[in-house]
Amino acid sequence: MADAALTPAAPAQREPHHFARIFIIWLVATAIADILIWFFLYPHLAPGRLTSSAHGDQYDMTVLLMCAAPVLFAVWLWFGYSCIYFSNRGTVPEDGAWYERDSVAIQVSWIAITSLIVFGLFVFGTYELIAPAGAGGGEGPSAIWRPPGAPSSSYAALHPKPWKPGSHPALLEVQVIGQQWLWTFRWPQFGGMETTSLYLPTNTTIQFNVTSLDVIHSFWPYRLGVKADANPGVNNVAYTTTTGQTHSFTYRCDELCGIWHGDMIGTGHVVSQAAFYRWATTEEKKLAPLTRHLPPYSLTYTPSLHGAGGGLYPQLDKPTPKSTGS
């Protein structure tokens, strides 16, 4: 069946060096793209540089984009080039070039290159996860990657040292409580008061203790580079460190939690340490009459069986932290 009509005519001129052509175009395109990404996209890439974890996420995203660009260009160029040079636009099919057996060298080098990229990314990602203490992600009740000064146990988290401006590196603990469909915040270092607004000081390491009262929510202050699921009965810890920059940020719910999921948003503010301290102490005093009626500060809250009449935190609830396991 391999008659003359179907075999391609002998090429009149020398076959161009296709691979070299693709390689050169690829090299130029990759270099341009990576330069553009590093110098022009990186400084503006989400989620910004408001905190250490946000900056870390931004850096990771940039590195991954710079790794993705060559891969994308390689495949696109290869497909595009093949569509132009190795196509047949006639109506009669022609057979492509024949080869006896699959090249082992090509297969082995492909596997080697992809494995190298993958393991490189793994090492990079692991370093970027562990070195900045969990990269702002929720680490569960007993975080193993902690910033300096962070309490190592649930008990220590329940009884934090007081926080004052300038007491670096003292840690500020903020408990984030999700419920349908509202975020509230409790401040163990300020008498366990509960607020609906969120202020954070500059240049401070912050420990978010995220929990929920009903269904799964996810606390996502986007510009802080933090995200932690709020699970009922679980204390999910996430760390970040604010920089010297003051700014406001939006926090949202990132896990579908019912009809007003999209409305669980609010605006927080990173303010100077003095301003924060002023705000916190004023609030503490203002809220003191209400704080007395709250259940004692705890890492998780369980609606009591005895509270069926509508009271979520009757005094029957024990103030000790619930053992959450991991």
């Binding site: 569509c83 196509s87 099919p93 996860l129 409305d263």
Partner: protein, 678 residues
């Protein structure tokens, strides 16, 4: 292998005795199993089940809005499904066997249009049923997608088209329809239709299970849609647990429908695995198995093992909602992590259940259109097996910020990134097969090229998501949504349409209109990019998924995506017009083998005869040996069971040596052998 099939003979047409058989004399026509009796018994079954549920748990009615209780709904759905299956005749054969009677299905299989509405063991009819069913499910899910994009045209404080409850139900039904009803979108239609043809078999291993696997899907579809009548469900397709426990009664429909689909998937996969392992024609070695069959096999391994886990989870959820267990309720000793783990232990293999058939179609079609041997056959199969295997070890990357097993995150980051190595094999094969080929731009090959380009973006963005620090930013955002639409819609659905354009001429004997096909492709391809590239950006900028209202600064990107979604809908309309025009109106006869394929399915008559092959063919060579200048061997000898001498020659890998197979075995055997058209 061949012997088993030779034992199977289609039953001879029964000539009824004078005055008809006793059954025909005693029973009028309408109680014979058909779709109308099915619907009738289904409706009756629902009423019965609902009544029983109220008897059992009438005093447990939990919600005022529907005045129903969960027990009544769940039992109603289950009895309705059972009634439907009884009505359509699914139980005739097993029940008759139990009582030692003649199986009623031994009658001659129905002919004509009515067989497409019947419970039939004919794998080609089931393939058609699946194809039409899947298209209906796909278009229904697509309508819900349009509703989502319409609601998201405007940010906050402008006009709302739906209220938040309806919106979340729409989101949930879109997701569930696409992820669950569409799971067998390729293995269902093309697997059932073409796997026997590709491996040289006359039928599937378990024809009645095959019919059952399809006829479980219409009840699931109806039940899923009926959730809208009882308040919908607010959880999306993932059904996260404490929320599912407190949801209104639409949640029950989600559970039952999803469980029925899980059952259907398990049945399909058992049948598929048995067929591929046992029913291969002589000479169809594992090293000659078409790539599509490898894809069907690896997918079936996943669908045999993953849905049982889901089934267990749905059972837990049903117990929580009906009899008052508290498996997912923290306050009573359960855990919200339980559902997350069970669901994603099913859910991540599920994602590859949706990816592997796309790989398979692409690898199957590419050599046909490049007219070049498939590079790295072993690597291609190994890629699919590797993905199939690795997909079991990655599920916790959905829980990177959930607070569970935080110290295991590097491990799951590694496994998730490692899975891109076998996926990379698929790209190596494609790139090397394109190289120095003679690519022809037919409609199916365009869809296959689009598959590779879209899936590339989906896969690379998946590596971003596997990286924990980046995931902290993009987890649960529209970035994720764009990512998996690139893999599933851009990958699987493009491959699905490629397969339709490729195989419809074989299934019907009529050509699809090429111009309309081109328009369909280009509108769909461009609209798809227009829809989902803005969603990558909007997700990276911080917009979470499943939001009903959003910040006005994201309006332009969302409106671009919505415009793209409408354009995708237009491309689908063009496809339907093409399908109806080509198959009903124009009816242009297709040539025997329009793509000059070496695939075994193209060697038999078009459309395939009831028994596929007159005799079980003898497979002589590799399906992808295009343009072999050294020894040009036809892919199979269709003249049946060969003499021992020929068999020995084939087994030794020497072919063409025997007189028996010197002449071409039939029309359309090789690239040059193409009668008729030019």
């Amino acid at each position: 292998m061949a012997i088993d099939q030779e034992l199977y003979r289609p039953p001879p047409p029964v000539t009824p005795p004078e005055g008809g058989s006793w059954r025909q004399r005693v029973i009028p026509w309408w109680p014979h199993p058909n779709i109308l009796t099915g619907i009738l018994l289904g409706a009756g079954g629902y009423a019965l089940g609902h009544f029983l549920g109220n008897v059992i748990a009438g005093n447990w009615a939990r919600f005022g809005n529907t005045n129903m209780n969960d027990v009544a709904l769940i039992i109603g759905y289950l009895v309705a499904t059972l009634g439907f299956l009884v009505g359509i005749g699914a139980l005739n054969y097993p029940v008759a066997k139990i009582f030692g009677l003649d199986p009623p299905l031994a009658k001659a299989a129905p002919r004509g249009l009515s067989r497409y509405f019947a419970y039939t063991p004919d794998h080609k009819v089931v393939g058609w049923q699946y194809l039409i069913g899947m298209l209906i499910y796909f278009f229904t899910g697509g309508m819900f997608a349009l509703a989502i994009r319409t609601e998201l045209l405007f940010p906050r404080y402008h006009s709302h088209i739906f209220n938040p409850e309806t919106y979340l139900t729409i989101v949930g039904i879109h997701g569930t329809m696409m992820m669950m009803m569409m799971t067998s979108v390729i293995v269902g239609p093309f697997g059932n239709y073409f796997v026997p043809l590709m491996i040289g078999a006359k039928r599937m291993a378990y024809p009645r299970l095959e019919a059952l696997s399809f006829w479980l899907t219409p009840p699931a579809y109806i039940i899923l849609l009926s959730t809208m009548l009882v308040g919908g469900f607010p959880t999306g397709w993932t059904g996260y647990a404490p929320l599912a426990n407190e949801a209104v009664q639409g949640m029950d429909g989600y559970e039952v429908a999803f469980a029925l689909m899980a059952l259907s998937l398990i049945i399909t996969s058992v049948n598929m695995i048995a067929t591929i392992v046992d029913f291969r024609a002589p000479g169809m070695r594992w090293t000659r198995l078409p790539m599509f069959v490898w894809g069907a096999l690896t997918t079936s391994v996943l669908t045999a093992l993953a849905p049982p886990v889901l089934f267990a989870g749905l059972y837990f959820m049903g117990m929580d909602r009906t009899v008052g267990t508290a498996l997912f309720v923290d306050a009573h000793g359960g855990s919200s992590y339980l559902w997350e783990n069970v669901f994603w232990f099913f859910g991540h293999p599920e994602v590859y259940i949706l990816a592997l058939p796309g790989f398979a179609i692409a690898a199957e079609l590419l050599p046909v259109f490049t007219r070049r041997r498939l590079f790295g056959y072993n690597v291609s199969a190994a890629g699919m097996i590797g993905v199939c295997f690795m997909s079991w070890f990655v599920w916790q990357h959905h829980l990177f910020v959930s607070g569970i097993n935080a110290d295991m995150r590097p491990l799951f980051m590694l496994t998730t990134e490692v899975i891109s190595i076998p996926t990379g094999f698929i790209y190596l094969v494609a790139m090397a097969t394109l190289w120095k080929g003679k690519l022809r731009f037919e409609v199916p090959s365009l869809f296959v090229l689009a598959f590779y380009l879209n899936f590339l973006i989906g896969g690379v963005s998946g590596v971003f998501l596997s990286d924990v620090p980046v995931d902290v930013t993009v987890h649960g955002s529209f970035f994720v949504q764009a990512h998996f639409h690139y893999t599933i819609m851009g990958g699987l659905i493009f491959a699905f349409f490629g397969a339709i354009y490729y195989w419809i001429p074989k299934m019907t004997g009529y050509e699809m209109n090429k111009t309309l096909g081109w328009i369909h492709f280009w509108v769909m391809f461009i609209a798809f990019q227009l829809t989902f590239i803005p969603l990558f950006i909007v997700g990276e900028l911080g917009m979470p998924r499943r939001y009903f209202e959003y910040a006005p600064k994201w309006a332009t990107l969302n409106q671009t995506a919505s415009a793209g979604a409408y354009a995708i809908a237009i491309s689908m309309i063009i496809f339907v017009i093409n399908l109806v025009y080509s198959m009903v109106w124009a009816r242009k006869r297709s040539v025997e083998n329009p793509w000059f394929s070496r695939g075994l399915e193209w060697q038999t008559a078009t459309p395939p005869p009831p028994d596929n092959f007159e005799r079980i063919p003898l497979v002589l060579s590799h399906p992808y040996d295009y343009g072999n200048p050294i020894e040009d061997i036809p892919v199979a000898d269709l003249r049946g069971v060969p003499t021992p001498a020929v068999l020995a020659a084939s087994a030794a890998g020497v072919s063409g040596g025997s007189d028996e197979i010197d002449d071409p075995p039939g029309p359309g055997a090789g690239p040059g052998d193409r009668g008729g058209e030019q």
